[in-house]
């Protein structure tokens, strides 16, 4: 597959502050994945209970217990991921990472504070997230509270090399329609 996208100008963005689009997309992926895992967990529990007791368990969306467990699960998902290596699944996919405001590695305490502060960015009509656009360092409300920042962890230089390598594999058309004479065979 050749995508045709050439990350030419992105060779030096690793470690730079990540923009709002990448961050929100990563968050959306995380919400989808964590919610999916939660639903899968409920389904497994339902199946096991049904198998062991022959009783059908129905989960109600309005059930307070389910809500509390869901919130706990989300807390665990984000706080654990950030404290382990500063990135969740969605962030890993989009190549962004949470670090301390000075760029050093995140501490577990900050990961927990960031997770707890994350809902505040929602509660204020999304204004906490809007800070990413207007704040000099692209830091949202929960970043400012936890003393964190989000940077690109994607090695665009390696991507550039992979891109060039793919291009090098493809025989280039030469005038006259002849295959370029090279001593090596490229598949």
């Amino acid at each position: 597959m050749t995508t045709g996208t050439q990350p030419t100008a992105l060779t030096s963005l690793q470690g730079h502050y990540a923009g709002a689009v990448s961050r929100l997309a990563a968050f959306a992926i995380d919400m989808a994945v964590s919610s999916g895992l939660f639903a899968l967990g409920l389904a497994v529990i339902t199946y096991v209970v049904n198998l062991l007791t022959s009783r059908h368990v129905a989960w109600n969306k309005g059930d307070i217990i389910v809500a509390v467990v869901y919130v706990g699960w989300e807390f665990l998902y984000f706080a654990y991921s950030w404290s382990v290596d500063g990135k969740t699944f969605g962030m890993a996919v989009l190549g962004v990472q949470v670090v301390r405001a000075d760029g050093t590695d995140l501490e577990p305490r900050q990961a927990v504070i960031r997770t707890l502060a994350l809902p505040l960015s929602f509660l204020l009509l999304g204004l906490g997230f809007a800070l990413m656009l207007v704040q000099r360092e692209h830091r949202a409300l929960h970043d400012l509270i936890a003393g964190t920042a989000v940077v690109y962890a994607w090695d665009a230089r390696a991507a550039r090399i992979r891109f060039l390598a793919r291009q090098a594999r493809v025989p280039r058309p030469v005038p006259g329609g002849q295959h370029p004479a090279s001593g090596t065979e490229r598949s």
């Binding site: 730079h16 050093t104 992979r162 060039l164």
Partner: protein, 184 residues
């Protein structure tokens, strides 16, 4: 008077002087050679050299002038480099080199920055090797997706900054992640 006009009385003296001078000169030559031999034998050359201040002597030598007179290409032509290299024990030399200290003095990052990776990959089979090792469909798709999102990030940032009418540029990265030699 006529005879006296044609005969120079000093000619006779000259003739006598010449007859005496030749043997005397030969004698002086022999005496000088003998004396020099005796002096050289009596001299302690090593002690003499020790007393010579070679630095002072060398200070007075204009090496540039000397080198101008040397035909270096002709000199090099006369040197058998192969024979010299054969006599050099590379292993012995390398065993004396402190590789760690040497590497500490090399700025590898600066060295890498000087490498034109694009040209390297295009002109060698390194590209094929990298492609075989890392060219999965997933990584290609991921590179593409990330590139698109980074492009969108920069587009949105640019417009947001323009709408806010801010002229001062944003800091690129946190201090600890700022590449060496760049301003925050």
């Amino acid at each position: 008077m006529a005879i006296l006009d044609t005969v120079d009385p000093r000619d006779r003296l000259r003739s006598v002087g010449k007859r005496m001078a030749d043997p005397a000169e030969a004698l002086a030559q022999r005496v000088a050679e003998r004396v020099i031999d005796l002096v050289v034998q009596a001299l302690d050359v090593n002690a003499l050299i020790q007393r010579v201040d070679l630095n002072t002597v060398l200070d007075q030598v204009d090496l540039n002038e000397v080198l101008k007179k040397v035909d270096v290409p002709a000199l090099v032509d006369r040197v058998d480099i192969g024979k010299i290299v054969d006599r050099v024990d590379i292993d012995e030399i390398l065993s004396r080199v402190d590789i760690e200290a040497l590497l500490d003095r090399v700025d590898v990052n600066a060295l890498m920055a000087r490498i034109d990776m694009d040209a390297l990959i295009e002109q060698t089979d390194l590209g094929a090797v990298i492609a075989q090792s890392s060219g999965g469909v997933a990584s290609e798709a991921l590179d593409a997706v990330r590139s698109q999102f980074v492009g969108l990030d920069r587009f949105i940032d640019r417009w947001a900054w323009r709408l806010l009418r801010r002229n001062a540029p944003r800091p690129a990265a946190p201090a600890a992640l700022m590449p060496a030699g760049t301003e925050p």
